[in-house]
Symmetry: C2
Subunit: 399 residues, 2 copies
């Protein structure tokens, strides 16, 4: 399935629809060693779409491994200033940005001290949040299948069959198996935009999640707006920030989250696998983080700053998307977060609240989504008057 | 020969002696897709030497191929402003810099329009020259053997044997076959420093090259000083900018070069192979550039700016180095320029002249070395009084 035509169709979808690259734009592509074929297809597509420059940045997880294994404590805290400055310059230049997700060597970090893995600051840039909130770049994040990722997702299959299966799934969830993938995306987005309008109109004061191991109430801000992945830059360029995307989301009140939540899917954070995660919140703060695996890494990451232990996102996913029904755990946030409702520790989105509440949006270096929804998790809206309104039951919208 | 020990010895030589990385320094590593093993060994060595951050930049020749094949004319002229700014920031941060040379896929550009290959601006940054001239970073350039490079250098050998042979040569020319490579380098450097002192003391007004197809006189500036690859930063950190290095060099007068010169080795420039190069100079300017192959690419590159057709470097190489005696054409400037005396079109080195002459040093975006020396090329110094003093005869120093 990773033939040249499929690569090109995925690249064209990311460039032409996801980021919606405009003639004369600089295009920054964030990739990783091991993702060269799709990266090159994206660069080619971007030049065909008229890019004035395609800047490809390949990270190398082995270099990160060396930093955590051999770097001084100072090294774990150091990120060159020009990394963040470059992101701001991309915003100034009104550039397009494309990132390719999916782990290449999922187990590589597992021989390291998990606390040092979590303490490593190099994985997050505050300026990335700034540019997203200022809406100065048209950007997208898309998946890049690799043999290592395929082996993680389909461990029972032979390497070639696993990769073929992963590609097949990616093609399906990206709607590349449609004659006109862009038309299919526009139709799905229209549905989700309708949901966001009804949710925003309901003006809930809080959202309640209830299911096996989960009883969590998350407060919303007075002006919290619900949004789908149909974005527009400040200059009016429409783009799809995630491909695929099946979610509607908003920015919650970082001061109000109470109860316990059990993650319904494992996740990979900074190269560490976190399984069986449970988090207890009090007054908006994650006061206890436990897991069968990887708790130390996540705990350290939430300690980067004050906002690391508070919520920046609350997202709902119905059962009509293409990812959930597959039943596949992808160990990649881009995909797994679109299989189930989720919340994120860390940075919130300014553009999901009104001007009066921007100051209250959670601020942090990190933004870590984890999945808490599923067909057996009931989602209920609570109005300021205390009325309880069903939102999702059995994965179906109730409003 | 590319076993883990050899990789580590080469990495340690580049980090510990070449760049001479200091504790707490940021280290920028400039690499390329296809050079991951040595790149990772360099990163590991740098962290072991106390680097506070190792920033690895992998370029991808396929992305460059896409730019030249599909990019607009605007794309060939565009380089994001933050590329150069980053280099200046490396200087501000007093960072160390390590670059790995050697082609990975030497023939890749050959299906492209050579004029477009030459017009592509992305290969040179003016700020790189600025930082070199300000001596704010301790830097080195070292070779990275790859299968593609080995096949180019040893086309008659099977792939594995070719790579083994190339590694063997790299180990030899880097003096890694010595028990103490650093001591061997210090000894060779002491010899070359002695030569630079005698050449500088001679105060030649010009250098005359005479051999088969070559009769070229290059003027020097009144304060031109001869230098070997024993550098020191403005802050006093010694470093070896090239490993290996066998040359002594100076900055010539860009207004005085007359005659013809025939290149004694082919070279790879911007991915294009240039063979059988002859250049005619008048009044310091290259007025005719001809070649059996690749002339168009070189001509376009010299047209980037006014200084592109004038000389910025003049370097002499004796027969006592380790590269020339191998008789191998490496198609890589780092190695080939240390096999034979050479000149470079483009940017000159401010630090090889006195303060009064800095304004006269050639300025350009490009710096392209090509080899013009050999045992059958006589090198003669000409004093201001017109006296002719033998400098190299049969590859041996005469002073």
């Amino acid at each position: 399935m990773s033939d040249a035509t499929t690569l090109q169709r995925l690249a064209d979808l990311l460039v032409g629809f996801g980021a919606n690259v405009q003639r004369g734009q600089i295009v920054a592509v964030s990739s990783e060693i091991g993702k060269e074929p799709l990266t090159r297809a994206v660069a080619t597509s971007a030049y065909r779409h008229g890019a004035s420059y395609v800047e490809v940045t390949y990270s190398d997880i082995h270099v990160r491994h060396a930093r955590i294994e051999f770097g001084s404590d100072e090294a774990l805290e150091t990120v060159p200033a020009w990394f963040g400055e470059r992101i701001l310059r991309l915003g100034d230049a009104r550039a397009a940005r494309i990132a390719l997700t999916g782990p290449v060597e999922p187990g590589l970090m597992e021989d390291l001290d998990p606390a040092r893995v979590g303490r490593d600051k190099s994985q997050a840039l505050r300026e990335a949040g700034t540019v997203v909130n200022e809406r100065t770049t048209n950007w997208t994040i898309g998946p890049c299948p690799t043999p290592g990722w395929a082996a993680l997702v389909h461990p029972d299959l032979e390497p070639e069959a696993a990769l073929a299966k992963l590609w097949e799934e990616i093609v399906h969830v990206c709607r590349l198996d449609e004659d006109d993938p862009v038309a299919a995306w526009r139709e799905r987005m229209a549905t989700l935009v309708g949901v966001t309008e009804r949710l925003t109109a309901a003006r809930f004061d809080a959202i309640h999640f209830e299911g096996p191991g989960t009883d969590l109430t998350v407060g919303l801000l007075p002006s919290s707006r619900w949004i789908s992945a149909a974005f527009e830059t400040a200059d009016g360029i429409p783009h799809a920030p995630n491909l695929p995307s099946e979610e509607v989301f908003t920015t919650p009140d970082p001061a109000r989250a109470d109860g316990v939540v059990r993650s319904t899917k494992p996740l990979l954070v900074g190269g560490a696998t976190i399984r069986g995660l449970t988090v207890r919140f009090e007054g908006g703060r994650a006061v206890a983080i436990d897991a069968e695996q990887g708790a130390d890494t996540l705990r350290e990451m939430t300690r980067h700053d004050e906002g690391g232990a508070r919520l920046g996102e609350l997202a709902l996913v119905d059962r009509d998307g293409r990812i959930g029904p597959l039943g596949t755990v992808f160990y990649d946030t881009l995909l797994d977060e679109n299989a189930a409702s989720h919340i994120a520790l860390g940075r919130g989105f300014d553009f999901a609240v009104g001007p009066d509440d921007v100051e209250r949006v959670n601020d942090s270096l990190i933004h870590i989504d984890f999945m808490i929804g599923g067909d057996d998790v009931a989602v209920t809206g609570i109005t300021a008057a205390g009325e309880r309104v069903p939102v999702l039951r059995g994965g179906a919208w109730q409003l």
